[in-house]
Symmetry: C2
């Protein structure tokens, strides 16, 4: 709960435009420009104002902030969370490179959640009104934008399934499996990765307590399904984890 607001002297330099272009970005096969031809990608490049650094534990935006930009993650990891009237939070997602942040703000022109960097990260700032002005001439871009919004809807539906129907160990197995496949798509190891989030954040996301997460880690480790050392995780038996996630196998 200790959100460091430290970002002091780097602010100006961090907002300076970096010369990186979509076509040179390793995420362009996943991110917004997917499917675009060279010249269309250039047009998109031109409206992307700046690449912005976001230091670990700092906010990219907060609930209530006016909505002007979508953000594409170039590098790093984020979490988003909602806050309800009585003050407790719900982590609604963990986002990684190539994913889009801020789509929930379109409906009301204000952000509905907080987005916070889990590590030092970089995002591309996409002014939404300028993006809209491109849609008329670039149906491919529009199409892919719709796919990304739709994908977000689908993702949230699976979280609803997870929170509404699954037991603790099933949720956690699903969580690990999900991370695994997302890293795999990005060309990283699907079996070895660092958890960028604390146990508390994982627990919050999965509707469980930090203690439960800790116990689940120990249990899975004892079963020989994973190896854990601090934040470093190795999925020793991904197949079994998938079965547990699917509910076809219980660890009694």
């Amino acid at each position: 709960m200790n959100i460091a607001i430290a970002q002091a002297p780097s602010t100006t330099s961090s907002r300076a435009a970096m010369s990186t272009r979509c076509s040179a970005c390793s995420m362009h096969q996943i991110c917004l420009p997917t499917g675009l031809k060279e010249d269309d990608m250039d047009k998109l490049d031109q409206i992307i104002g700046r690449r912005r650094k976001v230091a670990r534990d700092t906010h990219l935006y907060r609930v209530g902030d006016p909505f002007t930009n979508l953000y594409a993650i170039r590098l790093g990891h984020f979490k988003t969370h909602q806050v309800n009237p009585s003050g407790d939070q719900q982590v609604t997602g963990f986002q990684m490179a190539g994913e889009l942040l801020g789509m929930d703000a379109i409906s009301t022109d204000r952000h509905h959640c907080d987005a916070i960097a889990l590590e030092d990260s970089e995002v591309c700032e996409i002014p939404f009104s300028r993006l809209e002005s491109l849609f008329g001439d670039m149906p491919v871009l529009l199409r892919h934008f719709h796919r990304m919004m739709s994908q977000e809807i689908t993702r949230e539906q699976s979280v609803m399934l997870l929170l509404g129907n699954m037991r603790a160990e099933q949720r956690f197995a699903a969580f690990l499996t999900n991370l695994s496949s997302r890293y795999s798509v990005r060309g990283y190891s699907s079996t070895d990765f660092q958890l960028r989030m604390t146990r508390e954040e994982i627990g919050n996301y999965l509707g469980l307590t930090i203690e439960s997460i800790s116990r689940l880690l120990s249990k899975f480790k004892k079963r020989g399904w994973i190896k854990v050392s601090n934040r470093q995780v190795e999925l020793v038996d991904p197949a079994t984890l998938k079965e547990v996630a699917a509910g076809t196998k219980t660890c009694a």
Copy 2:
């Protein structure tokens, strides 16, 4: 779980185009054509192939069905649910007139959930590819479409908050309050309405059992917050219900 597949002889007639137009529809202030001028609304009308009746307990679409249409609800109520590999379901939402169904299918061109009518209903079939062809010339339509997708994302986020953080009574109060405000927007009573869904469906949606729902109804009734007779509900003390939903008040 008994899904009647009866719809036999009415099929052909039910799919016949009805002459109802967006401009004449009571939902056009809420639904897709929101904000459109007369002539733009006409263009939209022209691509909406048919108004289709969907009998109670029948599917509008199923998981895996190819995606060709979005559906705007003209009349009636629907539920959507997901099914996971081990066969159990999660109701992901209850939809009413003016709301859009099928947006989760855009990303993969296949439906990700089942949509089922809770009562005899009517939908407008919106061929998505034809809708896309309108976007170029009708920025207002595109804008509102984005708002509706974004709204769906926000809605699901609040369900995540509900499932992840709230106690049973809080969830149920939030559920009633949500229905109340949606009916209010549509010009119906915000305090008197029929539940179109079974206790089981409510429970599934809220991550609770049918027995819990029943007990909560009794408890709220005993407290004098609501009146219940079968599916008919009256919110006697909506203010308190909102407090309970917000978590500022517990019923110890």
